[in-house]
Subunit: 119 residues, 2 copies
DNA sequence: TGAACATATGAATACTTGTTCATATGTTCA
DNA sequence: TGAACATATGAACAAGTATTCATATGTTCA
């Protein structure tokens, strides 16, 4: 495909590539990683996750907090559920959402550290 | 007032919302967070970042590693540069990319931990 | 039972994003 | 200087995504 682009003086350049390719995570893992981060890539969802890292919350509450319509929030919550980032619990008419495990918080924190540094 | 009793349930809900709203990061921060994670939400970019966490690399090398066209890689690299996740260094005709700081690796690791757990 | 409430879902739409193609910029070396 | 190489960029298009509107499901309580 891109043979034309392959560098002529291959020596150390090619070595680095080979070496790096070996140490790289598998394609499957890379895709799972990207998919995980994709869930964190929307302000609404981040806000939901932050809220849930403080307190479990019903859908109405989350709507109030993120300023989203009930429908929009519900769609996003389905995404979060599918990604196994949140779990639910029914209490009467309401359904309470909470984080599925603590890794989620540590991902948020890792991001926060970066964000705070760059300001 | 007698209505207070009726409102008791709502209050409980409302209290959580109020409390959570206070503890929540600012809107600005939430958006910065989401934008940061958005950069990690593409398999190509994740692969690039993983590669750079192992070794600095020129564009050609990155193309080989991620299996992207030169143009596509370059566009993605601009994104990474704009997000201040990578920095560049020129050496002759080539431009070498490397991670801008170590937080990036820790974000990747936080994600990896989650991904590995869910398998 | 049915009315009121809480949440979920499907379809349509407006918006965003990644890639490609063509071309431009910048560097080296003969 | 010009030819060859390395990288960057703009425009266009295809694919993905978030929201809205309308409606469906499921729960409680009178």
């Amino acid at each position: 495909m891109s043979e034309k682009l392959v560098c002529e003086n291959i020596h150390h350049h090619d070595e680095s590539v080979k070496d790096t390719l070996q140490k790289l995570p598998e394609q499957q893992t890379v895709e799972a990683l990207a998919n995980t981060f994709k869930v964190f890539s929307d302000p609404g969802r981040v806000k939901i996750l932050c809220a849930l890292s403080i307190h479990e919350m019903c859908v109405q509450g989350l709507c109030d907090i993120v300023g989203m319509s009930q429908s929009a929030a519900s769609h996003q919550l389905r995404l979060l559920r599918t990604a196994r980032l949140v779990k639910t619990r029914r209490e009467g008419k309401s359904i309470f959402y909470s984080l599925d495990d603590e890794h989620i918080t540590s991902i948020l924190y890792a991001g926060l550290t970066h964000v705070n540094e760059k300001v």
